[in-house]
Amino acid sequence: MIKAILIFNNHGKPRLSKFYQPYSEDTQQQIIRETFHLVSKRDENVCNFLEGGLLIGGSDNKLIYRHYATLYFVFCVDSSESELGILDLIQVFVETLDKCFENVCELDLIFHVDKVHNILAEMVMGGMVLETNMNEIVTQIDAQNKLEKSETFIFQSPRQDR
């Protein structure tokens, strides 16, 4: 099971946090900091797996991460998940983000937290993988965008929008 999915940048600023197990808000922030600390001090070219921090369950859990330019994508999983499988999943996630945002960058994640959550929700649900087929995920997101556009067009009144 996936316990948590975290995205933060090279300075440790969280860009997405999704926990599939209940933690208090304080603990969530501590986990993000602890995870950043663990992951960011690792060299490039070492392996992509390490034991989880104490807060998230220590050696019973693994952190599986990838580092893309300014962002770390970290999945915290228990022993029932395949390490390489999760690496693939991170890749699918990133490629999907890239398709949905057309050449995604960190700013897209900042300004569209809700969208990133929605994309993730098409892939992972309650800590289990729902869908790995990128085309299927993108189709769903496109459909949502269309719905959104039609709803926005009808209801938005831009003047008082602050």
């Binding site: 808000e25 893309y68 649900m125 926005t152």
Partner: protein, 952 residues
């Protein structure tokens, strides 16, 4: 070139370097145009300092609050915008304590995007307010009934992401229906399967198995691969509890796997990932098969073996793509295949192929593969078919330990060396690990120390090697050598007279070093005090030399070590009468007799007097050599298991592949801990020197440093039963006297209902003198909460008076440690303190359940995982009276069979409920009982079993 794990990536990068450094608005708004949100985020990003950011956030929070509270009804769009802002603020690490109601209102919007953001808010900011949950559940109910698949999926997502018990209670019965309904859309089925899985994981008792299970198994044949993927995950979880109900999934999984494995890389179209057909589903299917033994049906088994061989063959083929994603996906399947082969452990041919494949990976240029290969080989090492094959890679693994740059990989290498160790290679492995220890990362030193200590003990052919190894450990990594390790070497030396002389000689030499670790002084002091006479014949280590060597370290040591050395000195007086005058001089010195530390002072005074007044015979009796220690599980092994969590130890207890390993080292049968009654000299030896500062004075005898080694309760200055006995008596009763001594009596009355309890404590002053500053306090180390309703009215308690204290107790979740009551007061000017365990044990929150015998056994079967069960066989402590026993069991649940007592009940805590089943089988002839507990939560089974076993 593809570089796995590196910063470069062969697909588009989601982050343009430097993109974050300029706080600008996104160039193109992607259609949704929540301008207010974008402006707010830009403001935050333009903040120059943390303070400015907080100020801006507080301003925005105030703004949103006033909008939400305002008279003007907000339209859905505004609500959505504000909820988005709150999500953003939350992500930055600020608490959000409002907005839930607005989010709930969005749920009933008929606009998809508003509904979606409402659900998102709720699953990110879960709130346990019950009124709110009722409203959320209502909205979910409507969406589930809406027959609009997008709305249904949103609702299912919400249930799965929150996964609370309340939601389980509301929907657990509906979801299976949605899952197997013929007219459900694929996406709904997918979501329903995972939703059900989540609810089952959170509260298994809420998900009733039924006729739907068979139809779930058949989802493995579904045309939609996404549905199959979700179904496999669900079945993998459900079948662990009820393997028989889902047995048919094996053949279906095999045929599905076979179709994927043998398909061409283009057959599965969208589910083909970098030329690998459906890697994720293959991995999941292989995991599912690991829940079952090899298929019995020959045709199914043949087909499966064919699959496994195909995967192994494909590993040797040239890659279809140079991209790292291709090899990752391919190897994900390969590693899972190897895991299945290891799990079956029945096909020598496949096992050897698997081992060879892993051997190739050990030298692969990709760090990830080396890491995984080391990890898989660890499990392979415990198979008797492949243990030898694994051993052939020893040089590669040792090399990995020395040269890998990545500490994660080095750690796996150390694990593998540990797993592949046997008598033939123990010396090599231990010496490599010792060498590694000199440079090892601080984080894993303690673990390496434990492993070396265990291997050295387990595979010692001659014990001088063992002694050398442990002393080397202390020399190299003294700070990481825990008490367990050096206690153990003392135990072994004490128990084996063939090594005592060598040990004495070696520690003597080790102590010559100008700077040696304090642990070395402890071991040296203990061993010379016991066996120094064995080397006293050599003038270079004559008694005066031994003494002055030890005493030269004395002043640099901590109090605990100095206390131990004082005990060594008094032992010297017995061993070497010629040292008596010198040692008495040392004891008599003001620095000892008037030492500020009470323990040191007491020892000096007592030992000095003992040496002066006792005759040689008495002295010889009192200071006799320590008797052998009773043998039980190595405390080091226990510690390693604790460190690595359950299961980690199993690779170590390898009785299977090396049955001869018992003959030397494990030869002593474990004895129940009650047998060990330490001789009075145990205490004199001074290992128990200073009680840890935290230990409360009154219980200092009971829970002490050395329980593991000496296991002896010290004398208690109380009347009647010791506090520990009294505590145990309260496991099955609620009222009585908890403690009594000459001064004070403490009585208890308590009642428990569901997860709440109330306890009345009565403190009686038995003397005729007032107690001053009387203060009873309660500390709860675990997940138990107590509130003191009313304390003793006035701090002084008059002679002969009784005061009362009322505690409210709330059990938050299952707990192991009872709360502690600490009572302090002054009696005739002298401070008094005692600490007692309050009789609040997990079984107090037991609610008996009525259950027919048939139901009982069905549930019994459902809780069949090994870790759910705890069992104990023990001698009856009380006369075996059926009626009394029945009453005791009934306290814990319903009884339904006369000769064989069973009970069922639920432990109520605030966070969760734990279903418990109990079975007690008496054997009147042997006066023995067998008690078996099965609960849905592992530590609870063990703990309850321990508690209850003492009651019959």
């Amino acid at each position: 070139a593809p570089v796995s794990g590196g910063p470069r990536c062969s697909v588009p990068c989601p982050a343009r370097p430097g993109a974050d450094t300029t706080a600008i608005m996104p160039a193109v708004s992607k259609g949704d145009g929540m301008r207010g949100l974008a402006v707010f985020i830009s403001d935050i990003r333009n903040c120059k300092s943390k303070e400015a950011e907080i100020k801006r956030i507080n301003k925005e929070l105030a703004n949103i609050r006033s909008k939400f509270k305002g008279d003007k009804a907000l339209d859905g769009y505004s609500k959505k915008k504000y909820v988005c802002k709150l999500l953003f603020i939350f992500l930055l690490g600020h608490d959000i304590d409002f907005g839930h109601m607005e989010a709930v209102n969005l749920l009933s919007s008929n606009k998809y995007t508003e509904k979606q953001i409402g659900y998102l808010f709720i699953s990110v900011l879960v709130n346990s307010n019950s009124e709110l949950i009722r409203l959320i559940n209502n909205a979910i109910k409507n969406d589930l009934a809406s027959r609009n698949p997008t709305f249904m999926c949103l609702a299912l997502h919400c249930i799965a992401n929150v996964g609370s018990r309340e939601m389980g209670e509301a929907f657990a019965a509906d979801i299976p229906r949605i899952l197997v309904a013929g007219d459900s859309m694929d996406s709904v089925k997918q979501s329903a399967a995972l939703c059900l899985l989540r609810l089952y994981k959170a509260s298994p008792d809420l998900v009733p198995m039924g006729e739907w299970t068979a139809r779930v198994v058949h989802l493995l044949n579904d045309q939609h691969m996404g549905v199959v993927t979700a179904a496999v995950s669900l079945i993998t979880c459900l079948c662990k509890k009820n393997p028989d109900d889902f047995k048919t999934c094996v053949s279906l999984a095999v045929s599905r796997l076979s179709r994927i494995v043998s398909s061409a890389s283009t057959d599965l179209q969208d589910y083909t990932y970098y030329f690998v057909p459906a890697p994720w589903l293959s991995v999941k299917l292989l995991r599912l098969l690991q829940c079952y033994p090899p298929p019995e049906d020959a045709a199914v088994k043949g087909r499966l073996v064919e699959c496994l061989e195909t995967v192994l063959n494909k590993a040797q083929e040239p890659p279809k793509s140079k991209k790292v994603q291709h090899s990752n996906a391919k190897n994900a399947i390969l590693f899972e295949t190897i895991s299945l082969i290891i799990h079956y452990d029945s096909e020598p041919n496949l096992l050897v192929r698997a081992c060879n494949q892993l051997g190739q990976f050990l030298q692969h240029r990709e760090t990830n593969l080396r890491y995984l290969a080391l990890e898989s080989m660890c499990t392979l090492a415990s198979s008797e078919f492949s243990h030898e094959a694994v051993k052939t890679h020893i040089d590669t693994v040792i090399n990995a330990l020395k040269t890998e740059r990545d500490v994660s990989v080095r750690q796996r290498a150390a694990d593998l060396l540990y797993a592949m160790c046997d008598r033939s290679n123990a010396k090599q492995i231990v010496s490599e690990m010792l060498r590694y220890l000199e440079t090892a990362d601080y984080a894993i030193r303690e673990e390496i120390v434990l492993k070396v200590a265990i291997l050295a003990e387990k595979y010692a052919v001659d014990y001088s090697w063992y002694v050398d190894t442990i002393l080397n450990l202390i020399r190299i990594a003294g700070d990481y050598v825990s008490e367990e390790v050096w206690y153990r070497v003392l135990q072994i030396v004490t128990n084996r007279d063939d090594v005592q002389g060598y040990a004495a000689k070696t520690v003597f030499e080790a102590l010559q070093a100008p700077a040696c670790h304090e642990n070395m002084v402890k071991v040296g002091g203990y061993i010379l005090g016991e066996f120094g006479n064995l080397i006293a014949g050599d003038p270079r280590s004559s008694p005066p030399v031994q003494f002055s060597l030890l005493h030269s370290k004395f002043h640099l040591c901590s109090v605990a070590t100095r206390a131990l050395l004082l005990s060594t000195y008094i032992k010297f007086i017995n061993l070497f009468p010629e040292t008596k005058a010198t040692i008495q001089g040392v004891l008599r010195a003001g620095s000892q007799l008037r030492n500020a530390d009470v323990e040191l002072q007491q020892r000096a005074v007592e030992y000095l007097t003992l040496s002066s007044v006792a005759s040689t015979d008495v002295l010889a009796t009192v200071l006799e050599e320590m008797p052998p220690f009773p043998e039980r599980e190595s405390s080091i092994l226990a510690k390693l298991k604790r460190k690595k969590g359950p299961g980690a130890g199993s690779a170590l207890d390898d009785g299977r592949r090396d049955p001869s390993s018992n003959d030397i080292n494990g030869g002593m049968e474990p004895t129940p801990s009650t047998v060990s009654t330490p001789s009075p000299s145990a205490d004199l030896l001074g290992l128990r020197a200073a009680p840890p500062p935290a230990a409360p004075p009154a219980s200092a005898g009971a829970g002490n440093l050395l329980v593991d080694v000496f296991d002896g309760p010290a004398a208690q200055p109380s009347l009647g039963p010791t506090p520990e006995e009294a505590f145990l008596r309260f496991v099955c009763k609620n009222n009585g006297v908890l403690f009594e001594n000459q001064l004070l009596q403490i009585g208890v009355k308590s009642e428990f209902r569901q997860n709440l309890g109330r306890m009345y404590l009565f403190y009686g002053n038995k003397t005729s003198v007032q107690f001053q500053n009387f203060s009873p306090t309660v500390v709860h180390p675990g997940d138990l909460q107590t509130h003191i309703l009313s304390g003793p009215a006035q701090p002084p308690v008059d002679g002969g008076a009784q005061v009362q204290q009322v505690l409210n107790i709330e059990c938050l979740r299952d707990f192991l440690t009872p709360p502690l009551l600490s009572v302090r007061f002054r009696y005739g000017g002298a401070p008094q303190a005692l600490t007692l365990k309050l009789p609040v044990t997990i079984n107090k929150f037991f609610q008996p359940t009525e259950m027919a015998a048939q139901d009982f056994f069905q549930r019994w079967k459902q809780l069949s995982l090994p870790q759910q069960e705890a069992q104990k066989i023990f001698k009856a402590n009380h006369p075996m009276d059926a009626e009394v026993t029945k009453a005791k069991v009934r306290d814990r649940g319903r009884v339904c069979r006369p000769m064989n007592f069973v009970g069922a009940g639920i432990i109520q805590t605030k966070a969760l409920q734990v279903g418990c089943l109990l079975r007690l089988e008496p054997n009147a002839q042997a006066q023995m009982y067998r008690l078996t507990l099965r609960t849905s939560k592992e530590p609870v089974s063990r703990h309850l079993c321990e508690l209850l076993a003492q009651q019959f």
